[in-house]
């Protein structure tokens, strides 16, 4: 019995971390864009979806590795185009307009994907070379590809972190996040910085899509399925903070993963007082299990963070 408890903890941790890292890959770009430009990019999930679909097409005609190299670049280009010719115009009219624009783009991308690829999920598979078991934990085989996804996420984090911290371009980007007018006064091309950041964010989401689309389902509803959770990650982690996004996504991944295995109910709180039978008898909300509500856990976390520390775990206090 004790053994299966330990097994459950280990497997849930592994699942939670791998899912959390996937969330990080997609939300890193979003938090950067949000932090810098104040633009709530509703279409960020769409960049993820486009990365997966471009990856699917390129993998079919060339190979997965070609897809991995080219699809994120294509998505970054699309992101750059959107920023330069659409968002920049809307910027004049305020944040609400930018938000509505990205909202509209979300719908357009979904319909475009349905138009070109159909309503049904496509068979985007990982290359056979990567389709093996890495190791076994308590009788459950852990596929290597999950480690691959985690590896790509960690590499992405290191690259962005090093870029922002140790390069001149990173310095300008970070300065522009805090004080865009001052940076512009110093003679830097701030609009170009914005363009680069947006394209970079889109490209990161695209890379996430290309890699994970081969493991998880690739369908036209991908963007809306992931869309909500990445906002939660960004809010919990703190707007503009890459480190915060990493911590938040890991937290959310791990909590959601553990929640599936736990049947705690609110009525359980009455156990030490001997009130459990009465509370359980009342039914309703008191008997809802945590395992059933596993998908709601991220939102509960967001609520707690907003109540205790509204700037997010690692965000700047306004």
């Amino acid at each position: 019995m004790g053994n299966s408890r330990v097994d459950f903890v280990i497997v849930s941790l592994l699942n939670g971390i791998s899912y959390g890292l996937l969330l990080f890959m997609v939300s890193a770009g979003l938090t950067l864009i949000f932090g810098m430009m104040g633009v709530l990019n509703f279409a960020h999930g769409s960049f993820y979806m486009l990365g997966a679909y471009f990856g699917y097409t390129l993998a079919r005609y060339a190979s997965f590795w070609v897809a991995l190299a080219i699809a994120p670049l294509a998505v970054a280009l699309i992101g750059g185009f959107i920023e330069r010719y659409m968002l920049r115009r809307a910027h004049r009219h305020g944040h609400a307009h930018e938000l509505l624009l990205t909202f509209g783009l979300f719908f357009i991308f979904e319909e475009l994907v349905k138009l070109f690829y159909g309503f049904y999920p496509v068979e985007y598979r990982m290359p056979a070379a990567l389709e093996f078991t890495a190791f076994s934990v308590s009788g459950i085989d852990y596929p290597f590809f999950r480690l691959f996804i985690a590896g790509v996420a960690v590499a992405m984090f290191m690259a962005i972190f090093l870029l922002l911290r140790f390069t001149r371009a990173g310095l300008i980007i970070r300065a522009a996040v805090h004080r865009p007018e001052m940076v512009e006064a110093l003679g830097h091309n701030v609009p170009l910085v914005f363009l680069a950041v947006f394209a970079l964010g889109a490209g990161m989401a695209g890379l996430a899509g290309t890699v994970t689309g081969a493991f998880y389902p690739t369908s036209p509803t991908m963007a809306q399925e992931l869309g909500m959770i990445i906002f939660v990650v960004v809010v919990v982690g703190g707007l503009g903070s890459i480190e915060g996004a990493l911590v938040a996504s890991l937290l959310i991944g791990i909590f959601s993963s553990f929640a599936v295995g736990l049947d705690w109910t609110l009525a359980d709180l009455g156990k030490p007082f001997g009130l459990h039978p009465w509370l359980a008898g009342l039914g309703g909300l008191l008997t809802v299990r945590l395992s059933t509500m596993a998908s709601v856990v991220p939102f509960v976390l967001m609520l707690i963070i907003l109540l205790i520390r509204p700037a997010g775990l690692m965000g700047e206090k306004a």
Binding site: V11, F119, I140, P143, P217, A294
Partner: protein, 412 residues
């Protein structure tokens, strides 16, 4: 002068409509999930109704009456379905058909019931060939609702009986289902038939419907429970992802499902699904030449062979057709007469006899339990696996007793 001319023109056109006598079209409105998540499976109901409507058209209508088919997209949401119902009413629908989610069905059946209370002279009929939550013929039953599908109890009873007979049911069952009316009914049914099946339910879990991408945590829980069999009512991506995750994790489980036969599910699971069981309402191997002819015609018109949802819907609509055939359709459409004819209708389909039970409007339909096997006569594309029928249970043996919660008010 101009106003007078316009008024005269208006009067003339209005009177023109009254003078000609012709039958109303019978408007059949399908309100279905055509584009939301799970729509790949749900839209089949709309396709099948459209097929039936076209068949009726090529035969010259039913006793001269024209069947008009209209489609509404509920996007799988109860709120949108309610909105589309109002549109359908405004467009003059007589009959609505919906078969996807039991959640949407629960909403629509209440909308129909309330509409009929407020408009007793112009009621609307609701035919459901796919939603299997018990409440629809239980506490939510009413005179204008007809369920042509099986329900959770019928399916689980049939499944565990057949699996136990074949020796393919383990002693420890893990019950995993979606967190809405259907899933909860399934969970209850799996528990209540434990002694019939000779198993204990070692663990049970409910989860969000068609939203979860990663079933890793659920597989971890299955392993931790020590179960040797999984019984689930999951459908569409929930079923596919669950089976894929079980396959990649290398767990060897016996599986009892309800919707493995729906397109895409077996193809996605591949060899991992060998030996898995499912409960269906029709199977190409059962029903002889008549069934094969239906499959061939459907494929010719729609480009794919019908799934069990589609055949079930076609048989439901054919039962409606049989009921309509007993009525005089030359005057205004009388929906209450259609309802009373439908109560008494029964037809013989290639899969068996279908009748309607008047007490709760649950159809009495046969239940087929099949196993994924390379010995099946008809294999899925790209696989050498198909569904081999193991047991066919006739309608009268399969149907569950009338639920005490159903108190149907009949028009006097």
């Amino acid at each position: 002068m101009r106003v007078f001319a316009l008024a005269a023109l208006a009067a003339a056109s209005v009177s023109g409509t009254f003078t000609s006598v012709h039958a109303d079209n019978i408007k059949v409105a399908v309100i279905e999930n055509l584009s939301g998540s799970g729509s790949t499976t749900n839209r089949e109901f709309a396709l099948a109704v459209r097929y039936w409507a076209e068949q009726v058209k090529t035969k010259g209508g039913i006793r001269g009456g024209v069947v008009e088919y209209i489609e509404y997209d509920s996007q799988g949401s109860t709120a949108t379905a309610a909105e589309k119902f109002r549109s359908a009413v405004a467009d003059g629908a007589h009959i609505i058909v919906q078969g996807g989610s039991s959640g949407v069905a629960g909403q629509l059946t209440e909308d129909v019931r309330k509409h009929n209370l407020r408009n007793p002279t112009q009621p609307i009929l609701y035919i459901n060939p796919g939603s299997e939550a018990l409440e629809l013929t239980g506490e939510k039953c009413h005179y204008y609702f007809f369920r042509f599908a099986t329900n959770a109890d019928m399916r689980v009873k049939g499944l565990v009986t057949a699996m136990r007979e074949a020796g393919d049911l383990g002693a420890k069952v893990f019950s995993i289902n979606q967190n809405y009316s259907w899933g909860k009914d399934m969970q209850g049914a799996i528990d209540s038939y434990a002694s019939l099946g000779g198993y204990t339910v070692v663990d049970r879990v409910l989860h969000d419907t068609n939203k979860i991408q990663d079933f890793g945590p659920y597989v971890a829980r299955i392993k931790a429970s020590g179960a040797d069999t999984v019984i689930t009512g999951n459908w569409a991506s929930d079923l596919v992802l669950l089976m894929k995750e079980v396959a990649t994790s290398g767990l060897k489980m016996k599986f009892g499902t309800m919707f493995l036969d729906l397109p895409g599910s077996l193809e996605s699971a591949g060899q991992a699904a060998l030996g898995y069981y499912t409960v269906e309402s029709s199977n190409k191997e059962v029903g002889g030449d008549a069934m094969l002819a239906l499959y061939a015609d459907y494929k010719q018109r729609l480009g794919h062979e019908p799934s069990s949802s589609e055949t079930r819907t076609i048989f439901a609509m054919q039962t409606l057709g049989a009921a309509l055939n007993t009525l005089d359709l030359s005057k205004k459409i009388d929906v209450s007469a259609i309802a009373s004819a439908l109560e008494k209708a029964n037809i013989t389909t290639p899969a068996g006899e279908i009748g309607m039970r008047a007490e709760d409007h649950q159809a009495i339909v046969p239940v087929i339990i099949s196993k994924v096997s390379p010995d099946a006569k008809y294999k899925r594309e790209g696989l050498n696996l198909g569904f081999k029928p193991v047991r066919v249970i006739a309608g009268k043996d399969a149907v569950n007793p009338v639920q005490s919660a159903c108190k149907m008010e009949r028009p006097s």
